[in-house]
């Protein structure tokens, strides 16, 4: 059963064309991303099968190997039968290259045999992996995944200004053997080291020897913060122009994510039209600063910025008023409609004389900064970083206040929140207003960054992206927004091949998140406040 399932999953990825699309990128030595997709897809199924299997060592090895072989047979039959049957009729992705790939470049029969053997070997390997203790098993899996990730992102290292030091470990594409072994080894070493330290600390605490110095966590926190700031400031110098651009896109999503996190994560109001405020911020910036025919004010970036934010904020309140009485699904539908209305208005002929319709607004001015003008992605990196800083600060401080608690109470139970004396109208409207103004800020920077804006840049997909990244990072969690943005915006920017399969990947990621880690990658920490009170009371 498991074998057939593994084969079917692998076959599915093959038939939708992912394997072939990915096979152009080498990841580790001569293994391509296509191979790795197959290995991961089939491997996950086989691994779970082996984990559930209760028989003893050799039995499990045999069974999983058999299942793997079966899966290999299923996958191998596709190119084998392809000799006589025209699969292209049904599966448009079928091509001679794909056949060659799945036959390992051999004759059909030899390819089939090899595929069965490979499947069986994979099964046996994974079953063997389940035999040692949980710790080593997880360490090996983590190390493999890290190696694959580093391999996929190896282009990154070459793009860096200090890329030279990595060349001994890289092939033309992907890691070479030395690099792969090195990354794998380092990860294992780190995992083992981390465990040793954890154990030492636990032992210390158990024996009651852990000295409680109240100043220590504080100084450590400052040190971590200091290092983080230095790294963030130095990052573009190391990364170079292209990667800074990628980071900028991530950063714009972080600002939006922080805003939507207030609306969805704190106040629990599901808003699917969030892109509308981003568009309004961008269009306001465009109209006010453009030197083209549509520009109305010829403001500088800094003069126009408050207008962008205020326009978005007012729109947030205007949208908030009609939906005050709505909850859950209904709210989502109305806000979804609002987002589309803004986009369609931007496209409309009616407003074309003012905002350019499908031609958009061009020649948007770059922000001046003292005697200079911010033009390159690296310049903008710092502007966006400052924007994130402000948004982060505001979101964090609001969370720790009467208003933040009111939002969260409303998220948990609206009726009871009202019975606690919380004015639902103003509390909801402030949530919408803050969320919208963050989005407006992001939109304003975006307009200035790309220099020209078009209605089609503001489609529903952006709203969905922002919502997904919040869910992946952890609903209501500020660091989660950053993690989510890196994972859902940064990775796809870097992995060009994924573009076509982005939605499939999102779907997979969201399903996996819901099943395995529903609280997100970096869930909101529980605030420990009672102890602090007691300490200060002593």
């Amino acid at each position: 059963m498991a074998g057939l399932l593994a084969g079917a999953v692998a076959l599915y990825f093959t038939l939708v064309g992912m394997v072939q699309a990915f096979s152009k990128r080498a990841v580790v030595a001569s293994l391509s991303l296509g191979h790795i997709t197959l290995l991961l897809a089939a491997g996950t199924v086989l691994y779970v099968f082996a984990l559930r299997d209760r028989t003893s060592g050799p039995g499990r090895l045999l069974q999983t190997a058999f299942a793997g072989g079966l899966g290999g047979l299923l996958l191998g039959l596709y190119p084998y039968l392809g000799q006589w049957v025209d699969f292209h009729y049904m599966f448009v992705r079928t091509s001679p290259e794909l056949y060659a790939l799945l036959r390992f470049g051999l004759s059909p029969t030899a390819g089939l045999v090899l595929m069965v053997v490979a499947g069986a070997a994979l099964g046996a390997l994974l079953a063997a992996l389940t035999l040692p203790g949980r710790f080593w098993r997880n360490a090996i899996i983590e190390a493999s995944l890290v190696t694959i990730t580093v391999g996929m992102l190896s282009d990154l290292f070459k793009g860096m200004t200090i890329g030279g030091i990595f060349t001994p470990f890289l092939n033309a594409e992907g890691l070479n053997y030395i690099g792969a072994v090195l990354v794998f080894g380092l990860t294992i070493a780190y995992v083992v080291f981390a465990r040793r330290r954890r154990e030492q600390r636990a032992a210390l605490e158990a024996s009651g020897e852990a000295p409680k110095t109240p100043a220590q966590p504080d100084t450590r926190r400052w040190m971590v913060a200091g290092v983080l700031v230095i790294v963030l400031l130095a990052l573009p110098a190391v990364l170079g122009s292209y990667l800074s651009h990628v980071l900028n896109m991530v950063g714009l999503y972080v600002i939006m994510g922080l805003g939507l996190n207030i609306v969805v994560g704190y106040a629990g109001l599901l808003d699917l039209g969030y892109v509308a405020f981003f568009a309004l911020g961008a269009y306001t910036m465009g109209l006010l600063t453009s030197t083209g025919p549509l520009g109305i004010a010829h403001f500088t970036f800094w003069e126009a910025l408050p207008f962008s934010i205020v326009v978005a904020l007012i729109a947030g309140i205007l949208l908030g008023i009609p939906v005050l009485r709505m909850r859950g699904d209904y709210l989502a539908i109305v806000t979804l409609g609002f987002g589309e209305i803004i986009r369609i208005l931007a496209l409309s002929n009616w407003l074309k004389p003012f905002i350019g319709g499908a031609q958009g607004i061009l020649l948007i001015k770059k922000p001046p900064f003292g005697p200079w003008t911010l033009t390159t992605p690296i310049h903008f990196y710092y502007l966006i970083l400052a924007g994130i800083g402000v948004a982060f600060f505001v979101a964090y401080r609001l969370r720790e206040s009467r208003l933040g608690r009111a939002w969260m109470a409303m998220r948990e139970d609206e009726d009871v929140a009202e019975a606690m004396g919380i004015d639902l109208v103003t509390t909801k409207l402030t949530a919408f207003a803050f969320g919208a103004s963050f989005s407006g800020l992001s939109g304003a920077i975006f307009a200035s960054y790309v220099g020209s804006i078009f209605p089609h840049s503001f489609n529903l997909l952006i709203s969905i992206n922002v919502l997904s990244l919040i869910i992946v990072g952890g609903v209501g969690s500020l660091p989660g927004v950053v993690v989510g943005s890196l994972a859902l915006v940064g990775l796809p920017e870097l992995l060009r091949e994924f573009a076509e399969y982005r939605m499939l990947m999102y779907g997979l990621a969201l399903i996996a998140m819901m099943l395995l880690k529903p609280e997100g990658f970096w869930p909101e920490p529980i605030r420990k406040r009672e102890l602090r009170v007691e300490e200060s009371g002593d």
Binding site: R402, M408, A417, M420, I526, R527
Partner: protein
Amino acid sequence: MAPILIAKGVTKRFGGLVAVNSLDFTIEEGSIASVIGPNGAGKTTFFNCITGFYTPEEGQIIFNGHEIQGFRPDKVTRMGIARTYQNIRLFANMTALENIMVGRHPLMHHNWWDAILHTPRYRKEEKEALAEAQRLLNFVGMSGLGDQMARNLPYGAQRRLEIARALASKPKLLLLDEPTAGMNPNETAEMIRFIRHLRDELGLSILLIEHDMKVVMTISEKIAVMDFGKKIAEGKPEEIQRNPRVIEAYLGRGAASGLGGSEAAATV
């Protein structure tokens, strides 16, 4: 004693159903009063009329000298009425301390800009709120549980936390909707002591809805009995225990006549 709450002819209809039918009720300041009655008698609807969840179609509710019928729930809470719920409704994904601090919302006044800039007003209010939350946590016997998520607390602690949250708004009148529901006899006895303690220590007036007759008879100074939305009796516990209409409402007509008869025979 002056009355803290007066309900005059309160009527609430849902379509054709009259859930509360021209109800009159008075609670003296500093007293413990109860509303009892069979399921569906309209007790919780009456609570909801007082706290502003429902607007009664007719009648007046006068709290502390002000008419409050038709006010929004948050306004009613600001005037000094707090409540708990029949099925516990805590903010599940917030810690116990945060739950109590939400309860203090009406007493705090800092704004979003205070919070962002950490103005002196913000610092002062937050400090007070945290200290007060801690104090209330100790008061309901939950010190040490403050950083637990509300959903992870044991049942009895959740009930007490709900009361602490209600107390955080410094109410003059506390409405408790079945505070001993689902408790064992020990916990119930504990809760009776606690409710008395609340009144004696904090000088609150308390209105209870309760099904457990032992609880009602032990702590109430005044009881109103409702059936089909109407008040069918009112008085001291001993009066209520003897009232034939109450027995009829609870046990049915036949039982009431039989009981009344045998009781009459016994007393003669």
